[in-house]
Amino acid sequence: MVFSSLSFLLGFMPVFFLLYYRMPKNGKNGLLLIGSIVFYGLGVWRHPSYLLLLLISMAVNIRIGKTISDKGGQAGKRWLYLGLIWNFGILFLFKYRGFFCENLNRLLPAGMAVLQESRPELPPGISFYTFQVVSWLIDVDRGAGYESGSGPRIATYLCMFPQLIAGPIITYREVEGALKKRRHTLALLDKGLREFVIGLGMKVLLANRVGNLWREVGAIGYESLSMPLAWMGIAAFSFQLYFDFCGYSRMARGLGWMMGMEFPENFRDPYQALSMTDFWRRWHITLGRWFREYVYIPLGGSRQGRGKTFRNLLIVWLLTGIWHGASWNYVLWGLVLFALIGMEKLGLEEKLKRHPPMGHAYMLLAIPLTWLVFAVTDLSQLAVYLKRLLGLATGSGTAVFGQDYIKYGKTYGLWLLLCLLCCTPLPGRLYRRWGHTWTASLGLLAVFWFSVYCLYMGLNDPFLYFQF
């Protein structure tokens, strides 16, 4: 089930919160746990084994976490490794096995390919909940410990529905206090509902709209794009990705507030960044934080000389790329980010910071071009798209409709401009100034119902980030 579905908005959400607010304080966590299992179960009803996988994984991890805490020292460490193998093993089986086998088979001589290249459908949220549970296991090993009788609380943390399938990736210590005791106020309900509606609007009214342009560009075929349409296409994808994922994160955060919990911020105006380093401090913040805390710093971070710093950066960005998908384009994408961030570390970032217009101009190119590598999984098609961006021919006899950018500009031009405006700090400033007026409240109500209308009319598509 996704937040931007009628079944969630008109069914699950009202029923859950009606029960939640009527439930006595000591039963709220239990209801949240059961609600989350129901939420996940409804989403994977075609694959009930995925629900079973989540439940088994949860039980196994709680057991491992408890053992790490009980044993401590080297024995605890061994249990931690076992936990890592268990969690990353499952992730590998579902997400990377097909890719691994495919490439291994290519390396083997003809006729020797014995490994099956099956790519099973990914259990929703597996990349997110794997990282979340691993963060908990490592934290337990690092001394956070396991409080006796906290099993149900940890189970609730591991599968809370607001962040179960697309993050943000929360650490246990961030919500431990709230899971023990939290306040539910009218102010939080108001704040959470507003945040949820803003996120829903970002997803349904902006991401889905401009996403249609990217879909149409794909339907035309990259060979047949005019140069202006090729640029409009990657602009559309860049906006779609941002409003899609940021919208989801804001909905999750809003639901958290409605339940009296504070989830971390996942996006902070990333398209305002002046450098790629700055961009990744603002984009998918909780993923960047995970890699920093559990990979980069344990590897030595930037404190062991330039060579090791670059080695650590390379590892982190390759892993970031691979986390997003099992395909060579994600590896290439990670390498491109490493190259840009590496150059920035060598002094470019300082210059960009000193000259903001230069920084914006640099990011105006770097953001869509890196997203292009991310979006196009077929590397030969990626080369075709890059050629079209430069206006180069991709072969003889290729059909290009020279007026295509005018045609699509008429349909999507205003949406692209609106998206551009919404990437600036202006809407946030206006909201902070006028957010609590009647006009703003009615405006948000209109956003909610218009989103529902669009979903009802079928102008919907799944979240982009669910495939990762």
């Binding site: 008109l10 102010a187 035309i220 409240s441 109500l445 009319m457």
Partner: protein, 312 residues
Amino acid sequence: MKKKLYRRFPALMIGSMLLLSPALLLKIGLEKRPGAQKDEGAYVESLVREEGTLPAQGGPLTLPGASEQASQSLSRTEAGNDKTVAPEAVSSVPSLTENETTPEETTQEKRAPSMEEFFSTVLFIGDSRSVGLYEYAGLEGADFFATSGMSVFRLWEKEVSVPGVGKLTLEELLKQKQYDTIFLMTGINELGYEHTAIVKRYGDTMETIQALQPETVLYVCANLHVTKDRSDRDEIYNNEQIDWLNGEIAGLAEESPAVYLDVNPLFDDEQGALRSDYSGDDTHPYGKYYQEWGRWLYETCVQTPRPSQETD
């Protein structure tokens, strides 16, 4: 004061939810109940998204006097003539070497128009796939009365910008310009409608076109399949439904002077679905394949005897 402020938006949300949700849920439930009649409104978001209302279902769409003229033109062909053309038919036309060419055939070949000449007297009537032909096939000189989401239910009411002619209705266009050949390429967007209404409206449309342009050769074109992936997951736009509709269109052509053309074998995979490597959205071929389609249309129409030639 603060509390009042915080009460406002939740109150608005809860109030509107209580008011609107039951009605909306009831409507969704009614639409989804087993055996429920497909509602036109629910499928406005059809093959290609386009806002607007759909015309009322059923009801003939014949212009005054159209039926009489159409029935007169029916006599031009013999009943039972196999007028269905598929890519195999084109490939089965033997290619003759220079030495093998007979004098009669040479004369016929000389008479065959070039691609530019042929398409200069052609009109395409259709949906997004016809738009694709206009944009990517390079069919210079042809007119296109086509728009995304077009269906026979809105064909006669909608004003369309025809490049080089202007914005007008189909009836105005057919009264204004004479065409040697007309390709009718709609159908897939109709699949959300009730089946008998689709066939009736399609037949009426054919009659009306033939009544307005009695000298033209009308080719009714099969709807292109969708990919297997889409076909397997789509309850409406799947190949079983498309094949059913194409069969009905072929049947209508059998009973009229029109010729049925089936381009699907050109783009199909071995399972009879649109090749997945030919399409980025599981529905439309990539731009580059429209050239192939246009070329096929030309070869088919020029190399296959026209119905009037067969009966003469």
